[in-house]
Symmetry: C2
Subunit: 183 residues, 2 copies
């Protein structure tokens, strides 16, 4: 291999590494560990990888790769791929960022809406009990009402978040915000 060929290969690697670094650095947003982030970013430039290739590339243990892959699978940033012939499992990074965005945020936001809405409903029932209770003092009733109204107001947000999820899932949001808008 000639000098300049070698130099070109290195320059390509450098170019990839710049992007790998940036992706990995911003992936804390997705709640993954730095090594899972690194792994995803590395896989982003590969067709598919086995656990052994990952451990060689990142110089880490196989169980570590195994857990990172699983975490990435949970948020759908990595998918298992079928490779006939090979006994080794192969995995591929999800390269469509729109899909990653959709899966991750919809999953998280739905969880947030569900948990909080359920808690709010229960809390509001309790507060209504207190308000209806004939022996309650005016002070207590006023207090209960105050919190009831605060919670009622917050539901507007959770309903909106739910609508946002729906419009992302259905793709309707792209009618409002097209994917291919020009710079």
């Amino acid at each position: 291999m000639s000098e300049s060929t070698e130099r070109s290969r290195m320059k390509i690697e450098e170019a990839k590494d710049k992007v790998i670094g940036a992706i990995a650095e911003t992936m804390d947003l997705y709640g993954v560990t730095p090594s899972a982030a690194n792994l995803y970013a590395t896989m982003y430039f590969k067709d598919q990888m086995t656990l052994d290739e990952m451990r060689t590339e990142l110089d880490m243990s196989k169980p570590s790769m195994s857990t990172s892959v699983r975490k990435l699978q949970e948020i759908a940033m990595v998918k298992k791929t079928f490779t006939r012939g090979s006994r080794k499992h192969t995995y591929a990074a999800e390269k469509n960022f729109f899909r990653s965005f959709m899966v991750f945020y919809c999953q998280m936001w739905e969880r947030e809406v569900k948990m909080n809405m359920e808690a709010i409903e229960e809390a509001q029932e309790d507060l209504i009990d207190v308000i209806k209770e004939t022996t309650s003092t005016p002070e207590i009733v006023a207090d209960a009402k105050k919190y009831y109204d605060q919670l009622e107001g917050s539901k507007t947000y959770y309903r909106w978040l739910d609508d946002l999820v729906a419009s992302i899932r259905s793709g309707k949001i792209f009618e409002f915000l097209p994917k291919d808008q020009q710079e």
Copy 2:
């Protein structure tokens, strides 16, 4: 204080605690520690609090409250409030979830776009150099082109994310997804 008054007060506290628990539990999404999450959720039902009130309420040290408050201020979920007369600093939770949503996600997404776009631009320049290099073998050129195109494609996503941020910041998104839509 009568028996039933006491019971009502407790029931109100219980109601609040249900919501506090739910909010705190889903706040890992915002990248804060469990205790910062707990603090925010507690403050959500208070007008304002001093560091000493926080430490009493959560039974933790004052420096711990201090750091949690700062973290929450960074993502605009807590604001310093001015209270004349008192030497103690007072803080209030941002109770408008729409505002919290906007500040947090826009901040994060903008960082993601900026970092990655910059890395992509640099990487693409490198790849163009390799492609133009007359001594490059066809294989190398093909490789460089492949990565160049992959990066070019990903820019569509980052531009979209930037548009999303802009439409949230400007409030235009609420024309598409109104806040007060009925269930």
